[in-house]
């Protein structure tokens, strides 16, 4: 009975005559209103707004801005947040300040278009100019490279250890245009003994991203 009702409803929805009279989002609203609300404590988080493709996101209250640098490749920028008083832990928002080559951009675009997967060596090689040495064994101990979604946006995640700093590193590469050439990065770095401790903060922060 219920399924028949849905079928009927679907037909109605697709009928243009009904579009003018019925709210398109009625059911979505209804579903949203069903959701239990989270505890108010979440709202004490600091809010980060308008960084590249990120319209908004929140970080736990203990975190704060730690440094900001502009001028990478003339137009790039780096904004860093860190938990107060804790050295060797930070979350950075980075743009290299210039587009990558169309060849690398196409490769990035292709990698993201496929279903979520662990990247092959060939795929990583094709992305080399974008990865800042993260697939170079001399510079980075790469543990995993895979694609996945953050709030509906397909991204590339690389994890491993930066050999120069010794910091555990997770970098999210975000396609900011539609051609894979403008690449935004979010990088979480922490000393080995602190990495897991602050990981949940970073997880929450990344989950809170509202994309533009």
């Amino acid at each position: 009975m219920r399924e028949q009702e849905f079928q009927k409803e679907n037909n109605n929805l697709l009928s243009s005559s009904n579009l003018a009279n019925e709210s398109l989002f009625a059911h979505v609203r209804e579903e949203i209103m069903k959701a239990p609300l989270s505890p108010a404590s979440n709202r004490t988080a600091i809010s980060i707004k308008d960084i590249g493709q990120i319209a908004e996101m929140s970080l736990p209250g203990a975190w704060g801005p730690s440094q900001e640098k502009n001028g990478f490749g003339a137009t790039g920028s780096y904004k860093e947040f860190a938990p107060g008083g804790v050295p060797d832990v930070h979350l950075g928002f980075f743009y290299r300040g210039r587009q990558i080559s169309s060849e690398s951009g196409d490769s990035f675009n292709r990698v993201l278009k496929g279903s979520p997967h662990q990247l092959s060596k060939d795929e990583l090689d094709a992305l080399s100019p974008m990865l800042r040495g993260m697939n170079q064994a001399e510079l980075f101990d790469l543990k995993s490279a895979s694609t996945g979604d953050i709030n509906g946006k397909r991204v590339l995640l690389l994890s491993g250890t930066n050999l120069a700093s010794g910091l555990e590193t997770q970098t999210i590469f975000i396609e900011a245009d539609r051609e894979g050439r403008v690449v935004q990065e979010i990088e979480y770095q922490a000393a080995q003994d602190k990495f897991q401790i602050f990981q949940s903060d970073v997880q929450k922060a990344v989950r809170s991203i509202v994309w533009k």
Binding site: N10, E31, I32, A35, L139, E187, Q189, V202
Partner: protein, 903 residues
């Protein structure tokens, strides 16, 4: 081998003398000079070497000492399947590279030089014969010029040389009645003989100069800045030096007196031995003579032959790498012939490229690295427009590198080769530049082979680090510029270190380490000057704010002055020059990514390569796609002048004047109107609300003007498409609320829409999908933030209002492809949001994060396995497989009678 000239005086050890004594060499050095009675006297020539054919052989190749026989055979060439680049750094290849790479059957340097001379002689004689139209055995300038018009391209160099040196050649033999007015065969014979001798001199001088650059400090055991004969002799007798170095040292000792006299740097008599400056002056003085200036063709032919012979059997090169090198050599020679570049620049570039190949590699560089650098030097010289800054803050140094490679590639080649071989380089004023070993290690860019577009090559890494250090060595010797491995995003690895402090500290800028060269226009100018030995004031251009009017570069006060300067540079053939620009302005803002991924505008440096009909051709260091090197891609001189302003306020004022002029002349340039608003926001002159209002006004005005043009049948669809694309991009970079507000304004305002209905739908869909995904993923975790819920509901209201303004088919499409899937996901999300399910999903999601998507069949099995492991990843990425996961979960949940899933 051609016969040895009996008239030439041997002043360096011949091949027959395997190891002449140092005193014998000195005696030769101090012996009175004998000149060829037939040649004209030249003050510098008398001081320089008189080498013979047999000497040439010893010049181009290291002397084969007794140890040569014990050298290993060259390893086999690497696999030919490799891309057109050097063989990878495999142990086998490395071992091969460590051995002497010259094939035993390869012709000697003397034979190569003799063959090159023979070919050159034939070309010159052929040009003589072809030019002698009346057959009188005498050539007038007119005859040569006339013949050169029909000359084949490979003969052009010979005609060019005859024309350029006509005055000198015709006077060589007194064989005409009265004034010497034409070139006779005898004149040419003497000239060719001189050429041969001078060519061997320049080869010797190059070797001595490079020896000094690499070994001066090691030899100067008294540390007094002078090389005494005692010090030179001691080094000469050192059993550990290579035969090649011994050979060059022999030449240094033989020319001891000439060298120490070259630069006036002693009180009274020059008798303490050559200084570093003496070596440089010795070379410069010879190069300044007419004899040396005419050497281009022969010098190039000889060095080219020697380089090609060198790589012929070099196991570090496969066929593709050899072909690539040859193609770049051809491109370089074509570039040199079509410009006013001295061919000796090309010859010397090849000399340094070969010098690197001769050297087994000095820690931390390997022989393979040397071969890599050798090919990259030739490529950079052939195509300076390909040089890019990569992931470094070196647009300024990259620009000056581009200029040096364009104008005097040999200077760049020598710098790179010296740094690679010894970590040191001697500037033309005698200042020594040193680069630390760590900075010579390949970084993330230079490890990429072949160098991809936009990345910085290894050769450029060495050039750029050395160039910055050249500036500091001269002006602030306690500062060193170093390259380290990047520690993460936001760190290019560049370090500017103050060694006057103990311990050394990084130089600060605004309280934080300045991790860039700290070069404004003045420093770029000074560096160009110290590297090239000279720089015209207008070789660096900038507007106020990017330097001071101190004569170090040209500060341009107006657009007219800019145009005038460009006209002059064009007329005098003096491009390329360096230009400071501001990337917050177009076209650089769009070229950089237009703020889509964050970032902010700032100072940048590019290279102007030409000026054509009001368009300025610019080479940008962000990759070839961002160059403006064709007339079509060239930047309007007016727009470029706006982009040169360091302060957006000044650019805004200029753009406002343009817009006003447009209005008075009843035209509209929508780009400029948008640009004004964007720049005002960037400069902090307006807030988001004002930006919205001003952009809104510009949108409405444009739509109205389009409507008018449409009515007049003057609306250009191409222009419309261009503007729509721009507006679409601009909206994509805005926050969702701003996008929604402006989108609605566009849809509601009358006139031709600034964005198409399809673009509107796409924009709304992106906002909705993003919002919904945020809500869904919150739901998957069991609860929803109230603020997020309210924002979402509010946005949905606005989206719905705008959808109502779109045609029905688009609404239907939106409903089907966006709303319906979200409804389904939301329903599933709330149920998955139950605590126990949420925990399971989280673990499953984490598991997928670190592995490829799994087949549904194995999902549960893998989940169990992963659940047993501790979480390691940041959970920041929620992989879609939740396709697989949520589908699976949904199927299970569908069995529940309590919840419904719309199908």
């Amino acid at each position: 081998m051609p016969p040895e000239s009996s008239e030439s005086q041997l002043r360096r050890p011949s091949e027959a003398e395997t190891e002449p004594s140092a005193s014998a060499l000195r005696n030769e050095a101090l012996a009175p000079k004998v000149r060829d009675s037939e040649t004209k006297e030249s003050s510098f020539v008398t001081k320089s070497l008189h080498a013979t054919d047999s000497d040439i052989s010893a010049l181009a190749a290291p002397k084969q000492g007794p140890k040569a026989e014990t050298r290993k055979e060259p390893a086999k060439p690497a696999a030919a399947s490799k891309a057109p680049e050097l063989v990878e750094n495999t142990p086998a290849a490395g071992a091969a590279a460590e051995v002497k790479t010259q094939s035993p059957k390869a012709p000697s340097a003397a034979e190569i030089a003799a063959n090159a001379f023979s070919d050159y002689q034939k070309r010159m004689e052929a040009a003589f014969t072809a030019s002698d139209a009346n057959g009188d055995q005498y050539l007038s300038l007119g005859e040569i010029a006339a013949a050169s018009r029909n000359a084949p391209s490979d003969q052009m160099g010979a005609y060019k040389e005859l024309i350029e040196n006509f005055s000198r050649i015709k006077d060589l033999k007194n064989d005409e009645w009265g004034w010497e007015s034409q070139i006779s065969k005898e004149d040419l014979r003497i000239y060719l003989k001189e050429q041969k001798e001078n060519r061997s001199k320049i080869a010797d001088i190059r070797e001595m100069s490079n020896w000094a650059s690499e070994n001066y400090d090691k030899t100067d055991s008294f540390r007094d800045g002078f090389l005494s004969l005692e010090e030179l002799t001691s080094r000469y007798n050192d059993k550990n030096i290579s035969p090649a170095e011994k050979s060059v040292l022999g030449k240094v000792i033989a020319n001891y007196q000439g060298l120490e006299d070259a630069h006036d740097d002693e009180f009274g008599f020059e008798n303490d031995g050559p200084t570093k400056a003496d070596f440089l002056a010795y070379k410069e003085q010879f190069e300044a003579t007419a004899e040396a200036k005419s050497l281009g063709e022969l010098d190039l032919a000889t060095e080219k032959a020697a380089l090609l012979e060198k790589v012929k059997n070099d196991p570090r090169f496969d066929d593709a790498a050899r072909k690539s090198l040859q193609a770049n050599m051809k491109d370089l020679e074509t570039r040199a012939m079509s410009s006013n570049m001295d061919l000796k620049q090309v010859a010397e570039t090849y000399f340094h490229a070969r010098r690197l190949l001769d050297n087994p590699g000095t820690e931390p560089l390997s022989a393979l690295d040397n071969a890599l650098l050798s090919t990259q030097i030739v490529e950079s010289a052939a195509h300076p427009e390909r040089l890019d800054q990569g992931s470094h803050n070196t647009c300024n140094v990259n620009s000056l590198e581009t200029v040096v490679f364009y104008k005097s590639p040999a200077v760049a080649a020598e710098l790179i080769a010296n740094i690679a071989l010894s970590g040191r380089h001697l500037l033309k004023d005698g200042t020594s530049v040193a680069v630390d070993k760590d900075s010579l290690a390949k970084d993330a860019d230079s490890l990429l082979l072949p160098t991809p577009e936009g990345a910085r090559s290894y050769a450029s890494q060495l050039f750029q680090i050395a160039a910055v250090n050249a500036y500091y060595a001269k002006f602030s010797p306690h500062i060193k510029y170093e390259q380290r491995a990047s520690t993460g995003a936001g760190d290019t690895g560049e370090r500017l270190v103050d060694y006057s402090r103990k311990p050394p500290v990084e130089v600060l800028e605004d309280g934080v380490p300045a991790r860039h060269p700290m070069f404004a226009a003045d420093q770029v100018f000074e560096t160009l000057k110290i590297l090239q030995g000279k720089a015209a004031r207008d070789s660096v251009l900038f507007a106020a704010g990017y330097g001071y009017d101190t004569g170090r570069g040209t500060m341009l006060e107006s657009k007219e002055e800019f145009k005038q300067t460009l006209d002059t540079l064009k007329k005098e053939g003096r491009f390329p020059v360096v230009l400071s620009v501001n990337t917050v302005m177009e076209p650089f803002w769009s070229d950089s990514g237009g703020g889509l991924a964050g970032g902010s505008g700032g100072g940048h440096v590019v290279v102007i390569t030409d000026y054509l009909d009001g368009k300025v051709l610019c080479d940008n260091s962000w990759g070839r796609a961002k160059d403006h090197l064709s007339k079509e891609r060239g930047i309007d001189v007016h727009d470029l002048y706006i982009a040169m302003q360091s302060r957006p306020e000044k650019a805004i004022a200029m753009l406002e004047r343009d817009v006003k002029w447009n209005k008075e002349n009843k035209t509209v340039d929508i780009f400029k109107e948008f640009e004004i608003v964007r720049l005002k926001r960037a400069a902090g002159q307006i807030n988001d609300q004002s930006m919205y209002e001003q952009l809104g006004k510009a949108y409405i005005d444009t739509q109205a003007s389009w409507e008018k043009l449409k009515a007049e049948n003057k609306l250009d669809p191409k222009e419309q498409e261009r503007v729509r694309k721009l507006v679409g991009q601009s909206l994509e970079g805005m926050a969702p609320d701003m996008r929604l507000a402006l989108g609605e304004l566009i849809l509601r305002a009358p006139g031709e829409k600034l964005i198409s209905p399809e673009q509107s739908k796409e924009m709304l869909a992106r906002i909705f999908d993003s919002l919904a995904e945020g809500i869904i993923s919150e739901g998957n975790r069991g609860s929803l933030d109230q603020g997020k819920r309210d924002t979402c509901l509010s946005y949905m209201q606005k989206i719905e209002e705008q959808l109502a303004l779109l045609p029905d088919p688009l609404k239907e499409d939106f409903k089907k492809n966006h709303i319906r899937p979200v409804e389904e996901k939301l329903t599933a999300a709330w149920r998955l949001g139950q605590p126990q399910v949420a925990a399971k999903t989280e673990l499953a999601a984490q598991a997928v994060r670190v592995r490829p998507a799994r087949s549904e069949k194995n999902v549960e099995k893998q989940e169990k396995h992963e659940a047993a492991k501790p979480s390691h990843t940041a959970g920041s990425v929620k992989p879609k497989p939740s396709h697989s996961v949520s589908k699976n979960e949904s199927k299970k949940e569908n069995k529940s009678p309590k919840k419904s899933v719309r199908k």
